[in-house]
């Protein structure tokens, strides 16, 4: 096993250091015939305890690293594993563009057609460029909205898979109304008469995530994050230096556990120890079971109930003081 599967994060390195020691002892034991078994057992126990301790107590800044891991399961991988037989990818905004930061199409799930729309970062520079690192332009949100409307017309439940550092900050994006595109999606998603489930796979950053995020139920992978602004962006503005990103990640309360505590999401989807990238297939099976129960419940609701439930879900979010005496 010796080699780590991935370049370890700094916080993981002590785990591998202990493992290297164990392997060295085993090698010496083999070469010299001296029995080090009790030392090896002790070290192994220590290694395991340490590993558990690190992974069970991940700090927000460490979760940010895991949420951005390039080997994390992507929207397209989730789609392919959920529905290996059926995947009709649909393209384009019908106004001149097919923004690949947003992917979508029809799958079969729970014995029924389901519309899946997700943001896709791509893996490796070539794919990153095709998918613009998962940062949609206005055309991407309009493409998403076209697929949502299609789903609405044919009564297909909608699943959105969120993994984006945010909408793209560019000249053309502003000229073509990136703000309007997101705002329009928010308003129109609120009106859709089919079930909508959102799953945050990695990063759910700012309005860029909300553009496909107005759902009846939201689930987050265990180490995914949902935030009003990237920790780096927040640090640059409030602390005037991106070096405070770790502190910002902590202060902004962006983890799945935070959002669950705030009652903004319906559930947390477990990841293998160390993060989804250690076992993407198992992670996607966990996604499957969450989706199964969520869609089974939501498909019982009438279109009116779905719209109302979605409205109330977001209507109640807010923390403020109000004196009852003066209105």
């Amino acid at each position: 096993m010796t080699q780590p599967l991935f370049e370890p994060f700094d916080f993981e390195k002590p785990i591998y250091t202990i493992q290297e020691k164990i392997e060295e002892l085993m090698r010496i034991s083999e070469e010299t015939g001296v029995d080090f078994q009790s030392e090896i057992d002790k070290l192994s126990a220590r290694a395991e305890a340490f590993r558990m301790n690190v992974y069970k107590n991940l700090q927000p800044k460490e979760k940010v690293q895991i949420a951005r891991h390039p080997q994390r399961p992507s929207a397209i991988e989730v789609i392919r594993q959920l529905s290996p037989q059926t995947w009709f990818e649909l393209h384009g905004d019908r106004a001149g563009q097919d923004d690949q930061a947003v992917v979508g199409g029809i799958i079969e799930f729970l014995d029924r057609p389901v519309m899946v729309v997700g943001t896709q970062k791509g893996r490796g520079m070539k794919e990153n460029l095709v998918h613009n690192f998962g940062m949609p332009n206005p055309e991407g949100y309009r493409k998403a909205m076209r697929l949502f409307s299609h789903a609405n017309k044919f009564g297909m439940p909608i699943v959105t898979l969120i993994d984006t550092p945010g909408a793209y900050p560019g000249i053309a994006a502003e000229q073509h109304g990136i703000g309007i595109a997101i705002a329009h999606n928010i308003r129109e998603m609120a009106r859709l008469r089919v079930p909508i489930v959102s799953i945050v796979l990695g990063e759910g950053c700012s309005g860029g995530a909300l553009g496909i995020g107005v759902a009846n139920e939201i689930y987050m992978l265990e180490h995914a994050l949902y935030t009003v602004i990237s920790p780096e962006g927040c640090a640059s503005i409030l602390w005037r230096s991106p070096e405070y990103a770790a502190q910002a990640a902590e202060s902004l309360k962006i983890t799945a556990q935070d959002l669950f505590a705030f009652e903004m999401i319906e559930g947390i989807i477990p990841e293998p120890l160390g993060g989804a990238h250690y076992d993407p297939q198992m992670t996607i099976e966990s996604v499957r079971s969450s989706l199964l129960s969520s869609l089974t419940t939501l498909t019982q609701l009438s279109p009116e109930e779905l719209v109302e439930q979605r409205y109330q879900k977001f209507r109640k979010i807010g923390a403020f003081e109000e004196s009852v005496l003066t209105r």
Binding site: A167, Y168, P169, G170, I171, A173, E174, Q175, H176, G177, I178, G179, I180, I182, A183, H184, I186, R187, E188, A190, R191, S206, G207, L210, G211, G213, V214, Y226, T227, V228, I229, G233, C234, I237, L238, W239, R240, A248, S251, L252, K253, I254, D258, L259, F262, M264, R310, Y311, F314, R315, I317, G318, A319, F320, E321, E322, S323, L325, T326, R327
Partner: protein, 301 residues
């Protein structure tokens, strides 16, 4: 010689007019209280003259930033405030270089405002409408839970009372100190506007200097009619973020009201002097049409 020129030349003799020394002088006593200098053309005027001109420079037409009450005064004949007691909380116990709770106290003391938006029922002549006016002086007009809640309640009031809605936006975006609570206000307000849309009620969004981020990507751009006030800068991402991302300089007029008009993002750019009249006439025209056409339920939205 106009009084302003006289004053300017008098000061000119005293000290060189580099921007810093101007700032220094602007902060001292009488000048600060009675005089104002245009940021654009550097002309100086008695403050009273500019106030009477709706805070627009009479030399170059520059629109000074105005606060929410001044705005309400300018565009209504009367106004009744709603939900005035809502104040922010600190749900994340947030601290950056200073605790959020402390910032709230200080901002309230400095601005005499309880939050970054004032909402209520406005009237021009005998026409009533629901009105929200954001105030940039309260934490950069940032949108947190209170802004989201007050806007949403106002939309609900418009629905109940069958009123047109006008929102004046001025905001740096979502309030980071409230984290995802702020973010989700975009959905809360957007979903409420979905109901207003289905009810066939008119919503006019007026974007004023400056409107960015979460407000641009929610209620700010969901108007049936979108007006940009002359001189406003409007966008989703900030200029600096875009420059850092694309590593090139942006044109000087990028994200200005007229730039947005050119790219089809707003319906019109309106001078402050014409705003009240424009809003009144737009409401009148749409109400007339609704009266003639009958209830909206007969037309699918």
């Amino acid at each position: 010689m106009p009084l302003g020129h006289w004053f300017a030349s008098k000061r000119n003799n005293k000290a060189s007019l580099n921007p810093e020394s101007v700032n220094q002088k602007l902060t001292d006593g009488d000048f600060e209280r009675l005089w104002i200098q245009c940021y654009n053309c550097s002309e100086r005027f008695p403050k009273k003259d500019i106030q009477e001109n709706r805070m627009v420079c009479s030399a170059c037409g520059y629109h000074f930033r105005i606060n929410s009450w001044e705005r309400i005064h300018q565009i209504t004949d009367s106004f009744e405030e709603l939900n005035a007691s809502l104040r922010p909380k600190d749900p994340l116990n947030f601290t950056d270089t200073a605790p959020y709770a402390e910032r709230i106290e200080k901002t309230e003391a400095k601005t005499n405002l309880k939050e970054a938006v004032i909402t209520g029922i406005g009237k021009i002549s005998d026409t009533k409408f629901a009105l929200a006016v954001m105030d940039f002086s309260y934490m950069g007009g940032s949108m947190g839970s209170v802004v989201g809640e007050k806007i949403t309640r106002l939309i609900e009031t418009a629905l109940e009372e069958n009123l047109s809605l006008i929102i004046f936006s001025s905001s740096g975006g979502a309030r980071m100190q409230e984290g995802t609570y702020s973010l989700m206000q975009m959905v809360k307000t957007g979903a409420a506007l979905a109901k207003l849309h289905e009810a066939g009620l008119l919503y006019i969004s007026v974007l004023t200097e400056p409107t960015f981020g979460g407000v641009t990507a929610s209620y700010g751009t969901l108007g049936d009619i979108i007006i940009a006030e002359e001189g406003a800068r409007i966008g989703f991402a900030g200029r600096r973020v875009i420059e850092q991302t694309i590593r090139q300089k942006l044109p000087a007029d990028f994200q200005t009201a007229n730039y947005l008009l050119k790219y089809g993002q707003v319906d019109m750019v309106v001078q402050r002097q014409q705003l009240k009249e424009s809003l009144y006439r737009l409401i009148q025209l749409h109400q007339k049409s609704l009266t003639l056409a009958g209830p909206v339920s007969s037309r699918q939205l």
